[in-house]
């Protein structure tokens, strides 16, 4: 009987194919990025077959787009745009009302450092637009007229404005809410490990391959460098800094985080990172702490025992809640 070359070669081929199949790299977690809510939104998800992860991520992005359509101040027809255009009151979606109510709560507890009613002021400065400029003192005073924690009241889905020209801006809370909702959608689809990063507002689901997620905190003055790294599971991490959106005139930096008292960019911090159970709360508190500064900011957090923060003061000194003290980098 002659040597059965075709059969042996076929068996050899099958053996090699099986070996390659076993040795080929496993596909890592799904990672996709979209431009939504005026920023980049990246979803990383794991724990399911790739096709189910793709479906889950698509649903999560759709959820963020839905929230953007409700809460963007730039989209005509959004709840926020209708509310700003209304002279007195407007009925909004239940979740828009809930987000506004949550924002008003943080506004009240922070003594107005977090403010949902700075729409006109932000428009005036134009820092996120095509032509940013420094307004006059009179223009700033006019834009601040009628603003503050009492400027809005929510009753069910009815939102009332104290002043007819008041412009509502949910920029300091809606991204966080969207990240929370996207995470909820991923969870509903059976995803067990995920991160939603909406322009630095990060919401985390579970752990990453059995260990805590490691979140790098951007150094506020050294682009591309990380100030420190924090570990988190099932938490949200949000950073607000004066380096994110700004312009410079005469050697001074004018950024997008405004002090509602002065109408000018807040100047007590370079950056604030908040770790909280949900991104919506972390988002609002990061802005509030940035405006308040380290001392008053940490004082505010005594009322939020589930929240931690790392604050880089305007002079570069670091402050943190006790749980994060270990994450502070060594002084140079």
């Amino acid at each position: 009987m002659p040597f059965q070359r075709p059969i042996v070669l076929l068996l050899l081929g099958l053996l090699l194919a099986a070996g390659w199949w076993r040795l080929r790299p496993e596909p890592g977690p799904l990672q996709e990025t979209r431009l939504l809510m005026g920023t980049t939104v990246t979803i990383e998800a794991d724990g399911l077959p790739r096709d189910r992860l793709t479906v889950a991520a698509a649903a999560a992005f759709a959820e963020i787009a839905r929230i953007e359509a409700l809460m963007s101040s730039h989209l005509p027809g959004s709840d926020v745009a209708r509310l700003s255009a209304a002279t007195g009151e407007a009925v909004v979606a239940p979740e828009t009302a809930a987000v506004i109510a949550r924002g008003l709560e943080v506004a009240a507890r922070s003594g107005g450092a977090f403010d949902l009613t700075l729409g006109q002021l932000k428009e005036l400065w134009g820092i996120e637009g095509e032509a940013p400029h420094i307004p006059t003192a009179g223009e700033i005073a006019a834009a601040l007229a009628g603003t503050g924690p009492e400027a809005l009241t929510v009753t069910g889905t009815l939102v009332r404005k104290r002043a007819p020209r008041l412009a509502v801006d949910l920029g300091g809370i809606a991204k966080g809410y969207a990240a929370d909702r996207a995470l909820a959608v991923l969870r509903k689809h059976g995803v067990t490990s995920a991160a939603v990063n909406a322009g630095g507002d990060i919401a985390l689901l579970g752990s990453k391959q059995g260990r805590p997620w490691r979140i790098g905190v951007q150094h506020p003055r050294r682009a591309g460098e990380v100030l420190t790294t924090v570990a988190a599971i099932d938490r949200a991490v949000v950073t607000s800094g004066d380096y994110q959106r700004y312009f410079e005139r005469g050697g001074r930096r004018y950024h997008h985080l405004f002090d509602p008292q002065s109408g000018y960019p807040a100047d007590r911090c370079q950056g604030v990172t908040v770790i909280a159970p949900e991104a919506m709360l972390a988002d609002a508190l990061a802005t509030a702490l940035f405006v308040l500064g380290p001392e008053r900011g940490l004082e505010l957090l005594r009322g939020y025992p589930e929240v931690d923060a790392l604050i880089v003061a305007a002079d570069g000194r670091l402050h943190a809640t006790p749980a994060l003290a270990g994450a502070l980098p060594e002084p140079p």
Binding site: L12, R24, P132, R214, A223, T229, T239
Partner: protein, 128 residues
């Protein structure tokens, strides 16, 4: 197996050995070698451009405001010219690590570096 070996000529055995070694070696190489990093540009939905990160080039990417210039060089991919007002995308510097992003929101240009993540990077996500 012994029966089979007895039936094989020396050339047969050499052919089988070479095939086995080449096949197994190739499989290990495929498994071990990191895939090349790529620059992928999209408008957030559709891919507009894709290229290896290790081949220097310059490309003008069309967006709603005009052309955003992307340069791929030794230090990675960077945006060197943009029709947007703030030029924040130009200030982002180079992107070279897998997962790095550059974005020009007004001109709807999103630049991503794709490839295997580096084990040496001490974080999974960056909060900024």
């Amino acid at each position: 197996m012994k029966f089979l070996l007895q039936r094989m000529t020396l050339t047969d055995r050499l052919v089988v050995l070479v095939l086995l070694l080449a096949g197994l070696g190739g499989s290990v190489w495929v498994a071990a070698a990191p895939p090349g990093r790529r620059v992928v540009v999209s408008d957030g939905i559709h891919v507009l451009f894709s290229a290896p990160l290790d081949v220097p080039r310059q490309v003008d990417l069309a967006g709603p405001l005009g052309a955003t210039r992307l340069v791929i060089g030794a230090d990675g991919a960077r945006i060197t010219a943009s029709p947007c007002a703030l030029k924040a995308c130009m200030g982002m510097g180079p992107a070279h690590r897998p997962g790095d992003l550059l974005a020009c929101l007004p001109n709807r240009i999103l630049v991503e570096i794709e490839g295997e993540h580096e084990a040496s990077v001490p974080y999974d996500l960056l909060s900024r």
